[in-house]
């Protein structure tokens, strides 16, 4: 079972929150649940509106994890905020391309480019 340890490394750059996933593989249901809850808290509990999700450490994620990301995007949009993504490895980008989620998410090459989009 996944522990409830921090699965997001959160930093603030100017007024933008950069949340980096610490897991290499976001595949296990228990891990996905915790990752999702910790992402949602950025919006629900902390009221953050400018968020970048950094996938530098992530090698693979499942369709259930994609569902959490879509719900996160909806939360941020509903709060009037903006969500960016960056540092997706080629294998990970393939997941977003084959599911056509590149049309849903703002995906940037790296943190610097993601920050410029705000």
């Amino acid at each position: 079972m996944a522990s409830d340890a921090t699965r997001l490394d959160v930093q603030t750059v100017d007024d933008v929150t950069v949340a980096r996933f610490v897991d290499h593989r976001i595949l296990d249901e228990a891990v996905i649940q915790v990752v999702g809850d910790q992402m949602y808290r950025l919006v629900d509990d902390h009221g953050l509106k400018k968020i970048v999700l950094d996938f530098q450490s992530v090698e693979h994620l499942s369709s259930a994890a994609l569902g959490k990301l879509i719900n996160m995007k909806k939360k941020v949009d509903a709060s009037g905020g903006q969500l960016g993504m960056c540092n997706l490895r080629p294998d990970l980008l393939k997941i977003f391309k084959v599911t056509k989620l590149t049309k849903v998410f703002d995906i940037h090459k790296n943190v610097e480019q993601a920050l410029k989009a705000f």
């Binding site: 079972m1 693979h60 259930a64 994609l66 879509i70 997941i95 084959v98």
Partner: protein, 140 residues
């Protein structure tokens, strides 16, 4: 075609049990020399297949079993069969998650991912048995 059964097991429809089975199969693939380049793709397909069987096929009913078999064919092809005790489904009837109107739906992408990362993904006529195959680099 020479085939070796690497793993066969039945388990109750429980996500923790499913995670244990997934890890056991991963360990066997690793032990049998499946390359680091192929393991993540296989794990993704295995996760999607097991999750579909447990959650959608057997509706998380612990009285229903999921049967998994993993084979090595021709010394380089991994084949996995996952069978649930549900009523089955027609994969052609599943809404296409890449259609514009479905893009923001949080579920329904498992089959698309399996088809993208595996060489072959098949269902039996009843729709309660999934088979996927991937040609892999096997380290001696």
């Amino acid at each position: 075609m020479p085939e070796t059964v690497l793993y066969t097991h039945s388990f109750a429809s429980d996500l923790h049990e499913s995670a244990t089975v997934q890890q056991q199969i991963m360990d066997i693939w690793l032990k049998n020399g499946v390359s680091d380049g192929d393991l993540p793709d296989l794990q993704l397909a295995l996760e999607e297949g097991l999750a579909n069987a447990v959650k959608h096929g057997n509706q998380l009913d612990p009285a229903k079993q999921v049967k998994v078999e993993c084979q090595l064919l021709d010394a380089c092809m991994i084949r996995v069969t996952i069978e649930d005790e549900g009523s089955g489904f027609d994969p052609e009837e599943v809404p296409d998650p890449t259609d514009f109107e479905n893009l923001d739906k949080p579920s329904g992408r498992g089959i698309v991912l399996m088809r993208a990362f595996m060489d072959e993904v098949l269902y039996n006529d009843r729709g309660n048995q999934l088979t996927f195959c991937k040609r892999c680099s096997i380290n001696a």
